[in-house]
Subunit: 270 residues, 2 copies
């Protein structure tokens, strides 16, 4: 396994981000702390100087395992489950732009909050079909770029569908695309899974990316999740990908990144 | 320790309630399952036939350890931290009505969601002062009836202040009333506390009521909270009060109540 931490390419309201100011400095810090990669949180790739982002990543000898896409929902309201067809079309276009951007790094594109919430008064089965339709369009487009998508179950307070790994697997099966995997996030799992470990075992054929955050969404080691056992379980299923810290910048960005690096080094993830 | 489970006196939107239909039948079930008490969730005591509620509780030989009051926030928007003075005054009046109702049972009055959320654009320090002012008014009124209030920290998604037991203790100290205690809820603690056990130990002089729900808010035993260790910790601080199940009615009301009774009996709480 390799380790990464989330860095936003621009300032954002989204809270669970170690670094969201001064991209170049943040990336340098991530490299200095010994991370193998930086997961990038991007609102709209069209707002970025892509060549510049590529250059900064290369200069610091980092990989980009995944692109986070939730800001387009949080800040612009784009979503796969919106009753308005135009909004859904814009959400698909945005993810397609993220796919083109991701192809520069061999990064996965995360489908997290961009799926939205099923609004009151909206038929649940219909909203699920809209979501599946959007996922089919995006995975189809992603195949042309040899890019994978990864679906992230989130806790009940952040969305009212796809909360558990098993919910995620059901959706992945319904979409039926070979380039759609599953993202296991320990913070969400602490709230939603009956057993964090058993659910990882059961999802072994689907997990393509992992988020590490402790029970309180601080750096691993700051709450009560047993990361030693999580790592053992990931090794048991022969997970070879990244564990990426999607955490609150507390007590401050530098400290939480340092704490993450320290905890992961102690746990001997490789 | 004694065991209870939450029963709503009327139908409600609030989801974390085992029973919310047909009060008399629900109370009978609670008694049949061997619970010592029923915690009552009440939107407005003035809508109740109080003598009838007292009669049903007595006939079933149950106690009422606490009154839940959050529906007045969830369904009517009354709160202690609302910028509108009239709303705050209505919230205090509602809690005072709950205090009079509670005095029939020697029950504590829970201050949970009724504290509200600090709205965007509202000064945090000011909203905290409003809340403290309301708490002083209510604890003062409660003294006349020899009733205690108990302040419930809830997780970050349900309110943006008083999330940890320690936050609760700080507020209790600032209010400075001898009849204001602390409510420890395991579902919220699983999200907010660094260690569920250490935080109980640290709050030992303040805890006057305990909610049991598992990590997924199902009945104790359905998630990954170690209730054996929670019970041991509560025994360590010599907690003599109630553990009360505030849980989702899943898979259905009867099953979740039965599961709760079974788990608590196995854990030998007394």
């Amino acid at each position: 396994m390799k380790k990464s931490i989330v860095v936003s390419t621009q300032h954002t309201k989204f809270s669970a981000l170690a670094f969201k100011e001064d991209f170049e400095k943040s990336i340098k810090k991530v490299a200095d702390l010994g991370f193998d990669g930086a997961e990038l949180a991007v609102r709209n790739p069209k707002d970025l100087k892509v060549e510049n982002v590529i250059k900064i990543i290369k200069e610091n000898d980092l990989e980009v395992p995944a692109i986070g896409t939730g800001q387009a929902y949080g800040e612009e309201g784009l979503s796969f489950s919106d009753p308005d067809e135009v909004i859904r079309k814009m959400a698909v276009e945005r993810i397609n732009d993220q796919i083109v951007f991701a192809s520069n790094f061999n990064a996965q594109v995360i489908i997290g909050l961009i799926r939205g919430k099923i609004e009151e008064g909206v038929n649940r089965a219909e909203a699920e079909e809209w979501t599946i339709d959007c996922l089919r369009k995006c995975t189809g487009f992603a195949k042309e770029y040899d890019v994978r998508l990864t679906l992230e179950p989130v806790n009940r307070y952040e969305s009212n569908f796809i909360n558990t790994l098993n919910d995620g697997i059901e959706f992945i099966k319904r979409v039926g695309a070979s380039n759609l995997g599953l993202l296991a996030d320990t913070f969400h799992m602490n709230i939603e899974e009956i057993s964090i470990y058993d659910s990882i075992i059961q999802a072994k054929d689907y997990i393509t990316h992992v988020h590490f955050a402790d029970s309180n969404r601080w750096a691993p080691g700051c709450g009560h999740i047993d990361f030693k056992k999580v790592i053992e379980t990931l090794k048991k299923i022969n997970y070879q990908g990244y564990v990426s810290a999607e955490i609150l910048p507390l007590p401050d960005p530098d400290s939480c990144a340092r704490l993450t690096a320290k905890t992961l080094d102690k746990l001997n993830i490789s």
